[in-house]
Each structure stands twice: as structure tokens, then as C-alpha cells.
């Protein structure tokens, strides 16, 4: 089934029960806002037969009940939503602070990242702390936020061999992205620090500490402060 277009959006079937809606072919704030607006509109006015939504940088995967909807029927319904994307405005972004203990056992790749860019460890930390990040989407595992806004001078490729287990709370860098691992999972991002904050807690009303669209700052803390916060 071929790709079809609607304005700036493209539709492409991903499986017999899912459809990808692309807003762009590269990461941009404009595409991100379209993703966030479509997500919001579909949450406010759900389409019967849609089972799940997987937002990403510039696309949304829409999973549906294949016994109730066909790709073309869903496309037609979604076109009406796409025409109305600019009607509603997104809520004012929240500001979230994430305390991070950088380097050492908390960030085993900090030295390599700073060496790669001919920076001192402190300069690398200062750069990471200086930026305002934006949560493009949550994906991969529960509560994992893909953060855009990493300073160019810190952009570093993934590890050639992913770690089998990354400690929960680890703060990583991959390309132009930064992110925090909520759980002990395998992972290939370069780890520069660790936060004592729980990024995902099922006993909290808002389970994920971060939501799509949030603005994020990292604050450096000492190992002592890390230990104190970890026990709260």
C-alpha cells in the first residue's frame, strides 16, 4: 500500500493494524508540535477503533482494531483531525529540574565524552547543565523521555556495543539527544551521570516524571546529595 499525503502529512501502513502519520522527514520543533497536537486532539476526542498511539520525533504510529477499521477508513477520519490541528493551542510547557551526579561511577562515559570533544570533564558538565531540553516524546520503555536540545559540542555517537544493564536513573547522550533511563535496561547511550529521581512510578498519579512538551534542566549535585535524595 503506497504512501498518501495530506497537506504536510504523509500516511503509510506499518502493519495490518497500524498506520504511521509522518509530519516531516527530519526532527524539527514544528513537526514535534504537530505530533503533540494530534496526540492531544485524539486524547480529547478519541476515534472509536483506535487502540493505541506511539508518538515519536516527527510521526505518530496509530494502532487500531483491524476488525473494526481499515487503513483507508482511518486515514479519512484522521484527515479531519489534521485539518483542525491549529485550532487548539498546546498547554504552556512545564519546567522540570533533574538533579544529576555527574561522572565517576555515576557517569562512566563522562571522561570519554569530554575527551572526544577536547573538553575538561567540568566543561562537559557545564555544557550539559547550560541547555534547556525539550521532551519530544516518551518511548522505548515506560517513562523514557527523548530530550532534544543537547549542545552541538556534546553530540556523541552511541556506544559501539550497548551495555547489557544500565543502572536506573542513568543520564545518557546519543547523537544530539539526551535522556534518563527509568529502569535497569540494556542501553547504548553514553552515560555521563545519574539522577536519584524516580522517572517512572506506578504509585504516582502522573506515573512518568516527564511528559511530552516539558522543558527540562539538569542540576549538578554531589554524591552526598545523591545519597540523601535517593533515600527519600
Amino acid at each position: 500500500m503506497a504512501t498518501t499525503e495530506h497537506g504536510t502529512a504523509q500516511f503509510r501502513p506499518a502493519s495490518d493494524n497500524s498506520l504511521l502519520v509522518y509530519f516531516d522527514q527530519h526532527i524539527s520543533l514544528a513537526a514535534h508540535q504537530h505530533v503533540a497536537k494530534l496526540l492531544r486532539l485524539l486524547e480529547l476526542q478519541p476515534i472509536s477503533g483506535i487502540a493505541n498511539l506511539h508518538p515519536a520525533y516527527c510521526s505518530v504510529l496509530v494502532k487500531f482494531d483491524a476488525l473494526k477499521l481499515r487503513h483507508d477508513e482511518l486515514e479519512n477520519r484522521l484527515r479531519l483531525y489534521l485539518d483542525r490541528l491549529d485550532e487548539g493551542s498546546l498547554p504552556e510547557p512545564r519546567h522540570r529540574e533533574i538533579p544529576v551526579c555527574y561522572g565517576g561511577e555515576y557517569g562512566p562515559d563522562l571522561a570519554e565524552v569530554s575527551d572526544t570533544h577536547s573538553l575538561s570533564a567540568q566543561q562537559a558538565i557545564d555544557l550539559h547543565v547550560s541547555a534547556t531540553y525539550i521532551v519530544y516524546f516518551l518511548g522505548f520503555v515506560p517513562g523514557f523521555a527523548y530530550l532534544g536540545g543537547l549542545p552541538e559540542a556534546l553530540a556523541t555517537p552511541r556506544l559501539p556495543m550497548p551495555r547489557r544493564r544500565v543502572p536506573p536513573g542513568s543520564v545518557g547522550i546519543a547523537g544530539h539527544q539526551s535522556g534518563v533511563y527509568p529502569f535497569a535496561t540494556p542501553g547504548g547511550w553514553r552515560l555521563i551521570g545519574r539522577t536519584p529521581l524516580a522517572m517512572f512510578r506506578p504509585d504516582r498519579a502522573a506515573m512518568s516524571f516527564l511528559s511530552i512538551g516539558d522543558r527540562v534542566h539538569f542540576t549538578p549535585i554531589s554524591p552526598e546529595r545523591f545519597a540523601a535524595l535517593e533515600n527519600t
Partner: protein
């Protein structure tokens, strides 16, 4: 509440129901039983709603003591079960009297067997489902596979046993296949025709490194043409992604919600329950079908699954 005492956990036994759909925006994948056909039928055998929580065993079953008794059914693959040393058949309900132990062995057919209990397994729901999501340690029984000494609770009050069995000649129409039918993936066109031919004409082996997150395949590696520039995007259940090394991976029930590798194809919904029965070293093939065919196969399967004739009292 009546209990189930875990005398031996088996290789990898978790509490599963039909999963939690709808939480992709939080990064939470549905999880749920690897073979939902087996779970749904097993639950019907003991008079449960199809989505009740049961135990999913993998390759090697466990031993379970029922101090107050229970109405049970085993579905999916045959793990050679005995109840106090007397063989019990899969796909048929039976009663464990107080103090009896159900013992399961290594599989005699596919990867997974389901132990369904009348009333269902009691578990604190996470996002509306009792399904264990092992990677994040959420849901199910303490978010993890069972261990020796665990004590589970059976939900609901005890009902008298009504013997039920699945009609085997109808069940055979729902059997897992080793030819997995696929629709094109969102990046199919990034793979040159020669790569597509290789993919659809080769035999692949399920790797030992396969689990509920994904099945790694061994076989001819699939060359990618220059293609486009891949940006992390949402991934669907059954997506067949091809990382740089060229060895395909089928994303499965405990999948990541987004991913950055191109997808050459996607296993059709009707064949996904059978993927849950694939064992390491099993040989599989892929066959391309049209979206309309995938849809009608799913409709046929669903009609058979929901028919009254499938289960005999």
C-alpha cells in the same frame, strides 16, 4: 482466598492476561500473553472471561500445589503435565483436589504453555492489566518471573467443575505455523528487490537470544540499500526490523514502543499468536501477503475463536 504454592517455578513463568493496550504515549508497551489464542481458550475451558490472568510457562514448566484445590486447564504447548503422577491432557478442564500438585516438564511441542485457573490469578493491576512487564519490573506477581516458594492467590469464589474440552479438529485450524505471513513494513522500499527476495526465500532460525521483547533470527543477512535517514518512530507488534548487521528481529509483546531501525515487513495479526510458540532453533519462513488478505485471515480466525462449537461441554 485459595492459594497456589510454587514448588518449582519452571524456566520462565509469569502472570499474563491480554495486556494493557493504550499507553504508548507513556512508553508502555501492551505486554500480555505471547500466545493470546491459547490464553483465551484456556480461560474459556475453566469458565473465565477470556482476559483473566493465568500463568505463562516457557519451555520448561513448574510444579504447583493447590492446598484448597482448584479448577484448572492447560492450553498452548504440551508440557507433559501430571496431577499427583496421573497424566492430564492439555485443552481440557480438570479438577485439582485440595493438596494435589500439578507437575509440568519440558515442552513436547512449542515454546509456551498456559495454566488457567477458574477465577483467574489475583494480581494488583498496573494500568488496568495483570500482565507482567519484566523489563520494567511492573505488573503481574511483583513484576517478575515466579520463584520457588511464591504463593499466588486465586481470585473469585470456587464454582463446581463443568468439564469442557476444545474440539481438536477445529483447534488444528488455529495451530501455529512456521511460515509467517507478512505485510510490507514502513521501510520495505529501502530494501532493494534482491534483499526482499533473499528475505522471503530464506530459512531463518530462531536464536537462543529470543524472549518476549523480540525474536532474533539467524540466517542470511539482509543488505539495505542506501535508503533514507532513519528517525526513531513508533513500532508495531510483529515488526521485522533489520539493524545494521542485517540479522532480522521480530518485535514481540514486550517490545519497545519506538525504534530506530528500518522495518522490511510485519507479521500479520493472525500469525502473531503462533510466534509465541516458536522455540529457539525452530526454522521459519516468511511469505508476503496483501493487507486485504491479512484482514480476512484475521476475521476468519476471530470467527472460529468466538464460535460456540470450538468448546464442547
Amino acid at each position: 482466598m485459595r492459594a497456589i504454592e510454587v514448588k518449582a517455578p519452571g524456566l520462565f513463568t509469569t502472570v499474563q492476561d491480554l495486556g494493557r493496550e493504550g499507553f504508548g504515549p507513556l512508553g508502555v508497551s501492551p505486554s500480555g500473553s505471547a500466545d493470546p489464542i491459547a490464553l483465551r481458550l484456556g480461560n474459556r475451558l475453566v469458565g473465565n472471561p477470556e482476559d483473566a490472568a493465568a500463568l505463562e510457562m516457557t519451555l520448561l514448566g513448574g510444579a504447583f500445589l493447590f492446598p484448597e484445590g482448584a479448577i484448572l486447564a492447560l492450553s498452548g504447548s504440551d508440557f507433559g503435565a501430571t496431577l499427583d503422577h496421573v497424566a492430564v491432557d492439555p485443552w481440557t478442564s480438570f479438577e485439582a483436589r485440595p493438596g494435589q500438585t500439578l507437575l509440568l516438564g519440558p515442552t513436547r511441542s512449542g515454546a509456551r504453555s498456559y495454566l488457567c485457573v477458574q477465577g483467574g490469578i489475583a494480581a494488583k493491576p498496573f494500568l488496568g492489566s495483570a500482565s507482567t512487564h519484566t523489563l520494567s519490573g511492573l505488573g503481574g506477581f511483583e513484576g517478575r518471573p515466579l520463584r520457588k516458594g511464591d504463593v499466588l492467590s486465586i481470585a473469585g469464589a470456587s464454582q463446581p467443575h463443568r468439564s469442557r474440552t476444545v474440539v481438536l479438529h477445529l483447534l488444528s485450524r488455529l495451530s501455529p505455523r512456521n511460515i509467517l505471513r507478512c505485510t510490507p513494513g514502513p521501510q520495505s522500499e529501502w530494501f532493494p528487490e534482491s534483499s526482499q527476495r533473499l528475505f522471503y526465500n530464506s530459512t531463518y532460525l530462531v536464536s537462543e537470544e529470543s524472549n518476549r521483547m523480540g525474536l532474533r533470527l539467524e540466517g542470511p543477512s539482509i543488505p539495505l540499500s542506501s535508503g533514507g535517514h532513519m528517525i526513531t518512530e513508533g513500532v508495531s507488534l510483529g515488526a521485522i526490523q533489520v539493524p545494521g548487521g542485517g540479522s532480522p528481529i521480530i518485535l514481540f509483546v514486550e517490545q519497545q514502543t519506538t525504534g530506530g531501525y528500518p522495518k522490511i515487513a510485519n507479521v500479520i495479526s493472525a500469525d502473531l499468536p503462533g510466534v509465541g510458540q516458536l522455540r529457539p532453533r525452530d526454522e521459519i519462513h516468511f511469505e508476503r501477503v496483501a493487507f486485504a488478505v491479512a484482514r480476512s485471515l484475521l476475521q476468519e480466525q476471530e470467527e472460529l475463536l468466538s464460535s460456540q462449537e470450538l468448546i464442547q461441554e
